[in-house]
Amino acid sequence: MNNKISHWNLGMSSLILGAISFAPVVGNAADEAKTQQLQGKTEQVQQAQPAQQTRARRPREKSFPKIASGKWTGPRLPDGQPDISGQWSNTIANHGNFEDPQGGVIGEPNRDGTPRRDPGPRDARAPSRVSDPADGRVPFQPWALEKVKDFRIGFHNPTYPGHIEPNARCAPGGVPKSLYWHGYDIQQYPGYVLFVFDNGSRIIHLDEKKPHLSENIKLWNGDSRGHWEGNTLIVDVANHNGKALFGRSGEFISENGTVKEKYIFSNDGTRYNYEAVFTDPTVYTRPFTVTIPASKWTNADETDGWNLEAHWAKHDGKEKILEHNERICYENNGGFGLGAAAEQKK
């Protein structure tokens, strides 16, 4: 039986996110090509929409400043939390390659089939998201590394459903992948920090006396308990189901893993660095640290369709207010949701 499933057909090229324009600013060449296919299908808000041709795009960073944990001297919310609410997005690259984020998807040929050109010297690009150990590699146990390598081949020539990157199925991005896919919203309330991603959301409970859910319950975005220390939001993540993977290079954590996160904010409120320790004695030989830089997007920015998928609010005042487009993926997904339903009807 021919089980060959092309990821071009299934989700990648036909992934439609409702009113969201799917134009990655930090994607690799393959993403750019897919973007052009999608532009015609997705719909834009007409009201005072910034023209696509003139969209200002932030350049991808090749390096980023370390932010020290310490005092917060910026504005605070009435409940005392540092006020960091707003639209955020990572500054480096998407989920194409975890250890070489700007190096392109491993093994990806050009669209015309020719092999990809040499991406050049490694140190000319952004560092690995693995900041410890120093070699920038996830310290996999041998069996797990074999699975990762198998995924990297299967990603281009899937013969098994587990070769499909879960984003193509509109599965939640999970931890940590949600932080380097599209931009997202951080909202703060007494007792909670809420992350709203295009796929999924995370509710960080700031009441650490509240126990985690039972280990029987495993979640795409885990179960989170956190507290603030100065400029740093410290979050303990349990109940991870490991299913989202870390991206197209196949790295993963299992349902036995836990994550201790630090979101370290600069005092001017424009950046934060995510520094998190991933522990899983069934997958890794030792815990390792993931570092992801992010910057804030504001009403002064132009929407770019990837880091910021928004439109200007309609109102009687003069102030420009950005509103995010509806975040619903699966139902609109050409490959799975509505597309699959249409196929069934034929």
Partner: protein
């Protein structure tokens, strides 16, 4: 103005004073019963009622908005439709009957798809409302859909039909302590309940959210849809605050159940 009072005989003024005192002692509870209830309603720092928290209805509305006896797939319910019957246009009523017959396969909630508005409000799973002055964010445990109700004096955006939304576009304003939310720009892909009650992309919903006390929300909605109903019609339901210790939403994604068994990779069995 004070001259008038100075001219009153002192006996009369003393009597008037004591009468006023007596009246005020008895009048305070009567006049302020609603005020005292208001004081118990949580409020944001800007004085607006605060709907923050985790809520859920105990009504059987999601099984069937209209009154119905029990079925193999539903408990009985007295219905939450004012006047009991949804005023379908004749062709729409035929469609509703077809939906009902095929509900075991055609109900979009079976696939775990977004419930839409208003079904997400009375679906029998918790919703968590996060509220700040500019908006309310409603996170639904089912499907983990996130709906934003803008309360910052903004209006519905101008978009074309290709951008019809699963949850519609919600703009809220305050009428006293009632949050009135206008929802438009729907697509036609959601149902109103499991019984096949449905709408078109012309649906327009006006909701009225009101805290009856700190732990109870009265939810009312008027639905109109010129392609489906002959006139607007109303529903009303009660939401209760979840007060169990440590209660929290737990992700409920159904569509991932079709493929999640393939992730993450596992060691080969030897």
């Amino acid at each position: 103005m004070n001259k008038k009072f100075n001219k009153l005989p002192s006996r009369f003024s003393k009597f008037a004073a004591s009468l006023m005192l007596v009246t005020s002692v008895f009048a305070t509870p009567i006049l302020s019963t609603s005020a005292m209830a208001d004081e118990k309603i949580p409020r944001l720092t800007n004085g607006k009622p605060d709907f923050s928290g985790i809520w859920q209805t105990t009504s059987a509305a999601d099984y069937d908005l209209e009154p119905h006896s029990n079925r193999k797939d539903a408990p009985p319910g007295a219905g939450i439709v004012e006047g009991n019957t949804i005023p379908y246009l004749p062709k729409a009523l035929e469609q509703k009957k077809k939906n009902f017959e095929n509900r075991a396969t055609d109900d979009p909630s079976l696939k775990g798809w977004t419930l839409g508005v208003p079904r997400g409000v009375y679906y029998p799973e918790p919703i968590q409302i996060f509220q700040r002055p500019r908006d309310l964010t409603v996170v639904h445990q089912f499907g983990h859909s996130v709906r934003t109700i803008h309360t910052n004096n903004t209006q519905h955006p101008v978009i074309d039909d290709a951008s019809d939304l699963w949850l519609g576009d919600s703009r809220g304003k305050w009428e006293g302590d009632t949050l009135v939310v206008d929802v438009t720009q729907f697509n036609d892909k959601t149902w109103l309940d499991r019984a096949g009650n449905f709408h078109s992309d012309a649906l327009h919903v006006v909701e009225r959210w009101k805290l009856l006390d700190a732990n109870t929300i009265e939810y009312k909605a008027t639905l109109e849809d010129a392609k489906v109903y002959s006139r607007p019609w109303n529903i009303s339901a009660i939401l209760h605050r979840h007060r169990e210790k440590n209660f929290q939403l737990i992700e409920d994604y159904r569509y991932t159940l079709d493929f999640e068994q393939y992730y993450p990779p596992k060691p080969d069995k030897k």
